[in-house]
Symmetry: C2
């Protein structure tokens, strides 16, 4: 049991970094499960989310506890309040990896991803993984330049999502309604996962600079 | 300019209630725009989101200001921290109404919703509107029974989304990939909008009961 106030703050930061790492691993595995129709891997991602959820509750309890008992002053207060917002984003990002894995599970033994879309889905998975890992580094280091870099990665993700729809609508092969639903949802899940990780970086920027512009992306 | 601390807290509450009301109106109008291919209404929803965003910034500034200057104690602190989390949910719920309106705009003058899906989309719109309005009442009244009622409404929304996919996959009429993408996204947007409004009610429950279970829905 840690007694020191700043040890508690550090523990919260460590938990947030660990959540980012777990999300990055989950989205990589979910992508592999999707494109290779790997049921076992899909199940592992789904079960693994429990750890992310436990970290969510741990951060939340610790933060509320410190808020209630310690009457933190300005700087520390801002860290705690921001942590309570970041932890929601990371928990939600983890859910999106689970959603992706559930598509793989639902379509097993078939693959949910038509052949001509695999490259784009793989690229989306890699981009999401990179963004989640960078979000963790931003939390750990408070490196604002890295946080800014994440916005560019997010643009790349949006382009990939558009490419996904363009290829689907180009209809080189019409794969039917089921594939259209699955791929549309998958594209959306990658985009949302990335968006939540970018929101984390934006909140860290707020912490460091004090700028009030930690608004969520508006579209 | 209000000086009194509790006046500020009340003002934050009023803004959150107003955001809920605006979201309810926006999702009703977006639904009409979708099923009737009404471009003017779609544009009104998209432009109207500016007001929701302004309220978001207003709540955020006020809350951070009070946190920084007033050193609030336990109960008030909890209200402020919870408000900072609720305002994100409401802003995001507003974005989903905009996303719906943008589908209508993109497909104008055609309707994005095939005839056999209109009933379900209208029902999703009504359910989302009801949930957003109830979320506002929960914020205003802190009525936990009403908050609990919202969970049932959320189940109804999930059922409607499943019905949407079932009808699409039943394929009474195959409307092609574009309709499949649009309807899949629309269904998802309604479900997410409702989920954010329900999250607001859950956070109010936490405020009143002190129970730490204000976790986001996990799937």
């Amino acid at each position: 049991m840690r007694d020191n106030y700043h040890d508690h703050l550090d523990a919260i930061g460590d938990d947030l970094v660990e959540m980012s790492r777990l999300v990055a691993v989950a989205v990589r595995q979910a992508t592999t499960a999707l494109v290779t129709a790997n049921l076992q891997l899909a199940e592992a991602v789904i079960a693994g989310d429990e750890v992310v959820n436990e970290l969510y509750h741990s951060v939340e309890s610790q933060a509320y506890d410190l808020l209630a008992r310690q009457q933190p002053v300005a700087g520390d207060l801002r860290v705690l309040v921001t942590s309570l917002r970041m932890v929601v984003d990371l928990e939600r990002a983890g859910d999106y990896a689970v959603h992706l894995a559930k598509i793989a599970r639902r379509r097993h033994p078939a693959s949910a991803v038509p052949a001509e879309l695999i490259d784009t889905i793989v690229a989306m998975g890699q981009t999401a993984e990179r963004i989640a890992n960078k979000a963790g580094r931003v939390i750990a280091t408070r490196d604002i330049d890295l946080a800014r870099e994440l916005l560019g990665d997010d643009d790349a993700m949006d382009m990939l999502q558009r490419r996904l729809f363009t290829i689907m609508l180009g209809g080189g092969g019409d794969h039917g309604t089921e594939a259209a639903i699955d791929v549309t949802l998958a594209g959306r899940y990658y985009e949302r996962l990335a968006d939540h990780a970018v929101a984390v970086a934006r909140r860290v920027t707020y912490l460091v600079t004090g700028e009030h512009r930690d608004e969520p992306a508006l579209d």
